[in-house]
């Protein structure tokens, strides 16, 4: 596959897995004839039929529960949240039944399902369409949380998520669907529980995921010119966190900055910081620094929206401050 857009990489992952396993099917709002709100399932219904690419009524909680029931009885559903935010209406089914049911049933049932879709702050979409649900769901036992960030990892991770026997919440970002990358011709899968080392460095560890990975890369270009040498890690797995990779990096740099798009209160960064303090406190030369979104509903106005989320310049300044002040 030559140069591939991220949404097509996701599409290819779904297509390959559906061809490989007849128990895999897609369901959600406008996934069939319309092709998905971001065209991830475009024309798949022509190849696989209406039952395997099932257009559902606008009934998030119920079609999510239906997927749970289908998964319990041996199918492998992939739910598309038209916008991840809409899955707030499915919180009941995702938390109680997708997340907890295997445990509550004492191992009677498995729930192999993927819940994927676009989230994050886009371009002036307003508060409701700009939500980051990962923080809301990280407290639910039994769920795996995965965030993709490039066409390459999007494809390999989604294929693994579909084959995983657990419920996987798979986070995509509205502003990343048109990223382009050369993808391998041959099939590949990526592990769901491994963080990705984006840039090797020595003086500070930047932990990030999803779109903020790209902001970090932008910031690092500036920082490198100024003589800094940050290490950038894309978490990929937001739950469970890959403390092997994270620990290895911190034992080398002794400084950590978390960069995320979640709100600061109760975000992924909050959990990460607490866990780093639990496990690696003695390794730290400075307190973990969190760069996160402001604790407000995302405003519509473009200037205010930019002020709400972390910008590359803030990452540059945070690294400068942490290293030059020796904190």
């Amino acid at each position: 596959m030559a140069e591939t857009l991220l949404f097509n990489a996701l599409r290819a992952a779904i297509d390959e897995e559906m061809a490989r396993d007849p128990s895999v099917f897609v369901l959600g709002e406008d996934v069939g004839h319309y092709g998905g709100s971001y065209k991830v399932t475009r024309e798949l219904y022509k190849k696989y039929g209406d039952l395997r690419v099932l257009d559902t009524p606008i009934a998030e909680n119920s079609f999510t529960g239906m997927a749970v029931g289908a998964a319990m009885t041996g199918l492998r559903p992939i739910i598309e949240g038209m916008n991840m935010g809409f899955l707030l209406l499915a919180f009941n089914q995702i938390a109680n039944n997708a997340g907890m049911l295997r445990y509550t049933s004492g191992g009677n049932y498995k729930i192999p399902m993927v819940i994927r879709g676009p989230g994050g702050v886009g371009r002036q979409l307003g508060a409701e369409h700009s939500q980051r649900l990962e923080a809301y769901f990280q407290g639910v036992p039994g769920l795996k949380l995965v965030a993709c960030s490039t066409p390459y990892n999007a494809k390999g991770l989604l294929k693994s998520a579909i084959r995983d026997d657990n419920p996987v919440l798979f986070f995509e970002h509205v502003l990343l669907y048109n990223l382009k990358e050369d993808l391998p011709e041959e099939e590949y899968l990526l592990p769901l529980d491994k963080a990705e080392l984006v840039r090797k460095g020595g003086d500070v560890t930047i932990l990030t995921y999803s779109r903020m990975r790209h902001h970090c890369i932008t910031a690092v270009k500036t920082l490198v010119q100024q003589g800094y040498d940050p290490e950038v890690i894309d978490l990929i797995s937001l739950k469970p966190l890959d403390f092997e990779t994270i620990g290895e990096s911190i034992r080398k740099t002794h400084r950590v900055i978390v960069v995320e798009e979640c709100m600061k209160s109760g975000g992924i960064g909050a959990e990460l910081t607490a866990s780093i303090n639990d496990r690696l406190f003695d390794e730290l030369d400075a307190p973990v620094l969190r760069l996160a979104s402001q604790d407000i509903p995302t405003p519509y106005n473009g200037t205010l929206e930019n002020l709400t989320i972390v910008q590359p310049q803030q990452i540059v300044e945070a690294v400068q401050k942490m290293i030059s002040l020796g904190v």
């Binding site: 395997r52 009524p57 009934a59 119920s62 529960g65 239906m66 749970v68 319990m72 509550t104 192999p112």
Partner: protein, 343 residues
Amino acid sequence: MIQERTIPTLPSVNSITRDEGLLLYEDMVLGRTFEDKCAEMYYRGKMFGFVHLYNGQEAVSTGVIGAMRPGNDYVCSTYRDHVHALSVGVPAREVMAELFGKATGCSKGRGGSMHLFSAKHHLLGGYAFIGEGIPVALGAAFQSKYRREVMGDETANQVTAAFFGDGTTNNGQFFECLNMAALWKLPIIFVVENNKWAIGMAHERATSQPEIFKKASVFDMPGVEVDGMDVLAVRTVAQAAIARARAGEGPTLIECLTYRFRGHSLADPDELRSKAEKEAWLARDPVKKLATYLLDKQLVEAGELKAIDRRIQEVVDDAIKFAQESPEPDPSELYRFVFAEDE
């Protein structure tokens, strides 16, 4: 006490053989005896949490599940799930052990009274949140259709039954699932156990149209009301709905008019329901009704029913002994079953 609805009568009920009659009776007595024992054990401090008993509603579980294919068709329940579990064939020992929180329970002591599961018996589970089992049942029904039509499995003609209460029919998942079931003609039957109350909320105070079976019509789905204290009537209606579903003709909504003989849960002081209402319904005890029918029709002799009563008492006593003697879950396995990799 508000005006009671007229109890519906069917033009005719499907006849049963002597053996079928004995099986129905045995299942109902098992349900009743098991629940009475639960109350005793709860008050003696042997089981904890919220325990919702099924006394009075036995004709629904036995009538519907007795008309299904055991271990092949799917059943989905609520927090009031002990008797549904027994009717699908989960051994009384495993249900009781679960209530005692033991490792030998059907949910390995992780679930408790409101979360009984058995994959082996196609019991999709007990669901403690109102309405949340209905979509799960819908998914099992979708799966049957998918296996047949997409995967070419001709044997996949299972029917799924979703049980839930009157109060639950005011929840969105009820309406959403009726829509999808009818839209895709899924092999499912929706069984409403209208016992007139949702904890302390009288049905008439919660809904603009108390005749629940009528709500099917707007989804272009058959809806029937039936005397939920008459196991033969419930069975007759269920048999027709199951046959329709199995033939690919789609879902049916069955409203069973029934009553719970105890409080909402064993923690409920049951102060709102009038004495007159309770007495009127107690007089229509479904277990006695079946016994009378079997004797009147001379299908069985009184001694045979007594023998069943005794045998079931032994089954329940044995379940208690088993539950008491069973081991607690191993504390080192606290995390077991969080993920699929834990078998």
